[in-house]
Structures are given as structure tokens and as C-alpha cells.
Symmetry: C2
Subunit: 395 residues, 2 copies
């Protein structure tokens, strides 16, 4: 039978990260390719106690269908946490979703018709490119600089294309590890003011800042044209699949319709267990442990790169999050390097899938949260040898 | 700020069932409006034991990210269960989803571009109408008869519109409670043969058959142009949000891309806990209890209707599932009746939202799984009084 698939799905890329998984099956491979939080920090025992308590005390309720918006005490917890950081919202502005990835899908549904315009960062999060591709928009990329989004390019793109939204990850961006400065956030909000463009601000990592000072989200300066996304995946555990979208009332009404059509509501048992865990434990103390661990891993990677890498290789120095971005000289291809690196038993994600137009890239994304410091050192040594072999061929 | 929402979301209906919820807050109201399984049958203690075991023995793994396709032993369990019923598939044909509602969304993404044609049952499941509406298709309704889908109307609709798919719920349909006969299933498959139309066969209730004999799915006779959906919501618990889609390889590849873009993967902790529960318990014995309970509730409702309802009110006699369908004389409006029924402290879902064109309806859906037999009796008595008051006004 000849299947007649939608144009939308045919234009949606497969995740390249899945393709790399086949390499990671090889024994002795060191993978900087994944995007996994370090499982040693999952609060397994505390989650087990929370699950036991919820099922003992509220079992029938926790296993039943529930409201689309999410469990109220969990929404209140998120409100309080924002309040402590100077962001005033109400629980009606919070929708609990199946990981913040789902909020990208819902945002696509709520705003995008085929051929609409979307502004994204260059490079950008490949999961967002994939989620929005389902709605067949035109992507317009705006450069990221070391202090954040390129304001003049952003202004021009919004003026020229009047995009439905600007997708941004201001903290420790995936893949680059870059962070918008406070000044840059204010300027981005200023550009959006009096436009019809909404900012979708994806913020899974802000609590995992291990250097520098916490900065307020762009939402603080652009309240009404903002959807702010958050997640428990990096501060508790991703297997729970719980994130949220924070949006003004009019947008929220549409997000709720899209959420209901998508899957009725987020896993209720997981919402209840997570909420119980959050009420019974000191989440700040827990996050402090994760931060300290990730800082040590990130520092090990940067020190090893300083020691082993050729001098013409540059890299970002993230203040938080899970990734950094390595750039080789112009004309080099990270995709070509990957073939060499596999021989040295080390893998990473080449830059290509992080560009909406799939251009060739001389950059690559490295994850440092999923290997211990010794393994990171060994992996960087191998990667360095691969780069040297590849560079010798290119010259 | 003026928001520029997508045409898609603006044409997607809110769920009417949510609107009815406000009535159910009133004390002393009897609600036949919901679609909830009876929580007294949730295996709370066994799920608690399963959760404890999973978190004790595989805690770090169960809280990590996982594959998009789903947990292999759970997929294997589903394969074995189908095999026991004479359906031969492999685990690669199973995708675990966040409740079978999500499979409707994914199917819409995989097949529908704006303006494509879709055939649905008349009346049809409102959650499906909502899920597909996001992709702005043209809906074409085909009548349901007591023995199943109207074959000549189906043939004509497929010939005339060449629809991307036909959405069908052959077992104890929501809302009508009707079931396709074996002959009707074969005829429907025969109509689809050599067309480019896929059947999306939604089957959340087949295990909850309390009268008559199990019938094979239409998939049995239309393997390659079929997506068969299943769910653990009605046989274990809906709060776990675990369902599945079963589809041939070529369709599965696209569903996996859509699933990954939608939410990466289904809640992994819930998959692991459910799987542990299924391996450690006798699910057939558990389902037998649910069947016996629902049969008693359904019988109580039918007996009460026989006793109290005026003679010109007709209703279906479901052999399984959770709903039956009550029809008043032509010219009556179930929506108007609802206003009267609220005064009598009883509610139901009027027929309107089950028609894609939102036509007026003299029918209504009653749920019998969520009230005990005494309450069902009292509710039907009240509903009968409401019908009599309304009928007196109409004449």
C-alpha cells in the first residue's frame, strides 16, 4: 500500500541524536553526544518514599483521570518559586505538560499555520526545530553572540518577517552553552515591545547555574508577549516527564485546548509523586549538590581541552547547564570529524542538526554531565587526537 | 496585545464535557456525564508494590530519559496479549503513547494537511473530533447502525472523498455503546481494500466486554492499512496515561518522529511500574472483576430505564464499555433537556458535541461506570422526571 503522509511529517527531520545512539552501543566508547542529566543525582529513595505515601494515602485519586491544567498544589509550588525570584504570576498562568518539549508542540499548534514565520537562535535547540517543523513554518535564524542574541539581527528579522514567535533559550543554551546578559535580555524585550511577536522562552537549565549570578527571564521585561517554559527534568528527574508553560490568560486558554486534544492531561501519578517529593524534601539543597557536581565535570572538560586541544580550536565556557560548544577552523566539518572520532572511540553531536537550514558546520556540541571527571579527561584526549588526525588530512 | 493564533486552534472546539463539570460541583448532583472508570477497581496496593520494586531495583534507570518507542518488555507484553487473541505482530509495530488520546494527535500529524478528508462515525468520539480538528480537515460522517458502520455510506464516502483515514471504534463505541458485528468488520475491511484510506481503529474497551463473544479487530482483515489503538486506562488505571498504537513499519517510522517531536517519550517511571504490575499480577482475573462490576451497573441502568422512562425513549444495550445512548423523539433537544435535568440534580452529555458539524441532537450519552447501582437507579428516576417535564412543554 502507498501511504499518503502529510507534507508536515515529511518535512520534519528525524533526530540526529538518535542516529548517534548506534555508536554508543560499542563497548569502550566515550559519549559526549547525549543530553542526559547525571543519574547519580536522581533522588531515588526520596521519590520512592513520595510514591509510597501518595499511593497509600491518595491511591484511587492519583490513578484517576484529572484536569487538563495540572495538579493545583504543583502549580502553586511553581508560582511560589517564581515569586521568590521576583516573577509575579498566578497558578492560572501555569499549565503542567509532559516535559517542556510538549510545550513546544502545543505552542506550535496554538500559533503556527503552514508558512508562518518563526525566529530561532543560530545555532538552535534541535528538539525545537523538530517540534516546530511539524507545522511547516519558515525558520529565520538570528546569530548568538557571547553576550546573547544579536539585537540588530533580531530587530531586522522581526521587522522583515513579522514572525509569530521568537524561540529563545537565554540560560546556558543548548547547544552553545551561551547565556544572554541582563542588558541583552532587556534589549530583546525592548525589540519585542509593540510588535505582534511572542517570545517563547525555554528555560530548563536556569536552576543549574554554577557560576555567576542568577538573571531574571526575558519574561520579566516582556510579560504579555511571553511564554516561559520550565522543567523538573534537570533538577529532579527526566523520567517523570514533568514540565510547565507559563503564559498570560489569553494564550493559556488556547494552550489548554491544545493540551486536552494532545493527551487530555499530564501523567497524574507522576504529578502527585513529584509534588509530594517537593513538599517533603529540601529541593534547594538537592539542586546545590547537582550544581557542584556539574561544575566539577565542566571544569574537568575545560581543563582537559586547554591541555590537549590544538590552539586553533575554540570553545564556550558555560556558567551552567549541560553543554559546551567547540568550534574548529573555517572549512572544517564536524560531521567529517565524527567519522574519525568514532575510530578513536569518542562521539559528540556535530553542529549541523542545530541549524534550521541544515548547513555544514565546523562546530560540535559536547555534554559534560553524563561522564565522570576521569572519563571526561580521557574522552577529550581521544577527541583531540581525532581532531589532529582530521586536521592533518584537511591541510 | 493582539495575539495572532493559528487558524487551526481557532477552529478546534473546547470539550463540552469540561463545561458540564461546573454542574457536578453542586452537592447532591448525580452525574452520568463523565467518562471515568470506576476507581474502586484501581489496583492501588499492587501498583504501590510495583512502584516500590521498580524504584528499589531500577530507580536510577526508571527516572532517566529513555527511547521514544517505549519500554521493550511492556511492548512485548502487548504483543503477547494480541497473539493470544490471534493477532500476530512484532514489538516494532508497537509505540507506547501517553494515553491512546495521544495516538489520535500523532495520527493527525502523520496524515493530515489542512483541508484533507477524514471519515468518522455519526455520532463519533468527541476527543477524536477535537484531536483531528487541530489539523483542520474536512469531516465526513458515516451512520452507525445497530450492527456497526453503514457499509454503503462508508463505500460512498471513501469513493467520493478519498479520505486519508476512517476513524472507527468498533467495540462499545463512545458515545453510542454500539458494536460492529463480525460480518460488519469484514465488510468494512473489504471496503478499505485497494483504497488509499487507512483505518484508525480506536479500541480502549475491547477487554471490558461483559456480554457476548470477543470479536477480532478490523485490523485482522485489513492489516496494512490499519492503525490499531489500545489503552491500559480502562483495565488498570487512567492516571498512568499509558496507551499504544499498533501500526505497520512504514507508518510506525512516521509516528515515532511525531512522538519524539511531541514529548520525546512516554513517562518512563509509569511504563516501568505498569509493566512490573502486569508481570506480578493476574491481569485477567483483575479484568474479570471489572467486567462483573460494570455489567451489574449497566444492568441497573437499563432496568431503571425500562421501569421509569416514557415509552417513546429508546436506548442502546451495550455488551461492554462504559456508555449507552438514549434517544428522545424527533424534534426534541438533549441540550434543552439538560437545562431541565440540572434542576432535578442529574446531568449527562447531550449529543451535540459528538457530531463533527455540531448539529442539534435528540440523543444523549449516559455513563454507568462511575455510580453505584442505587445511585444509578435514583439518577434515572430523576432523569425520567426531567424528560417528562420537558416533553410536556414540547407538546
Amino acid at each position: 500500500m502507498q501511504y499518503r503522509f502529510s507534507k508536515n511529517i515529511l518535512s520534519t527531520p528525524k533526530s540526529f541524536i538518535r542516529e548517534i545512539l548506534k555508536f554508543t552501543q560499542t563497548p569502550d566508547i566515550i559519549s559526549f553526544a547525549g543530553g542526559l542529566p547525571n543519574k547519580v543525582y536522581f533522588p531515588v529513595d526520596a521519590v520512592r518514599e513520595a510514591a509510597d505515601k501518595v499511593l497509600c494515602e491518595h491511591g484511587q485519586e492519583a490513578l484517576q483521570y484529572t484536569t487538563t491544567e495540572g495538579y493545583d498544589p504543583l502549580r502553586e509550588f511553581i508560582v511560589t518559586r517564581y515569586k521568590n525570584r521576583g516573577i509575579e504570576i498566578t497558578k492560572d498562568e501555569i499549565l503542567i505538560v509532559s516535559g517542556s518539549q510538549q510545550a513546544l508542540d502545543l505552542s506550535g499548534k496554538v500559533f503556527l499555520d503552514t508558512g508562518n514565520h518563526v525566529v530561532i537562535e543560530k545555532p538552535g535547540y534541535l528538539g525545537a526545530i523538530q517540534a516546530f517543523s511539524i507545522f511547516s513554518p519558515h525558520f529565520h535564524e538570528v546569530s548568538l553572540n557571547t553576550d546573547g542574541i544579536d539585537i540588530s539581527e533580531l530587530k531586522e528579522a522581526i521587522k522583515k518577517y513579522n514572525p509569530k514567535f521568537f524561540y529563545a533559550t537565554p540560560n546556558f543554551q543548548n547547544p552553545s552553552g551561551l547565556t544572554y546578559s541582563l542588558e541583552n535580555r532587556k534589549s530583546a524585550a525592548e525589540v519585542l515591545k509593540d510588535t505582534e511577536t511572542v517570545i517563547i522562552e525555554d528555560d530548563p537549565y536556569s536552576e543549574i547555574r554554577f557560576l555567576g549570578e542568577h538573571l531574571p527571564p526575558v519574561k520579566k521585561f516582556a510579560h504579555n508577549n511571553s511564554i516561559l517554559l520550565g522543567s523538573f527534568s534537570k533538577i529532579v528527574a527526566p523520567g517523570l516527564r514533568i514540565g510547565w508553560a507559563c503564559a498570560p490568560k489569553q494564550i493559556m486558554e488556547k494552550l489548554v485546548i491544545a493540551k486536552q486534544a494532545a493527551d487530555l492531561h499530564t501523567n497524574y501519578l507522576a504529578q502527585r509523586v513529584l509534588c509530594q517529593y517537593l513538599y517533603d524534601n529540601d529541593i534547594d539543597k538537592h539542586i546545590a549538590r547537582i550544581r557542584a557536581g556539574y561544575l566539577a565535570q565542566r571544569t574537568a572538560m575545560i581543563e582537559a581541552m586547554g591541555e590537549y586541544f590544538p590552539e586553533d580550536i575554540t570553545y564556550t565556557q558555560p556558567e551552567g547547564g549541560m553543554f559546551l560548544w567547540v568550534t574548529m577552523p573555517e572549512g572544517f566539518s564536524a560531521m567529517e570529524l565524527l567519522d574519525v572520532a568514532v575510530k578513536y572511540h569518542v562521539v559528540f553531536v556535530p553542529g549541523e542538526p542545530f541549524y534550521a537550514d541544515g548547513r555544514k558546520s565546523n562546530s560540535m556540541r559536547l555534554n559534560y554531565t553524563c561522564s565522570d571527571e576521569k572519563t571526561i579527561r580521557e574522552g577529550i584526549k581521544r577527541l583531540s587526537n581525532a581532531i589532529k588526525e582530521y586536521a592533518a588530512k584537511k591541510r
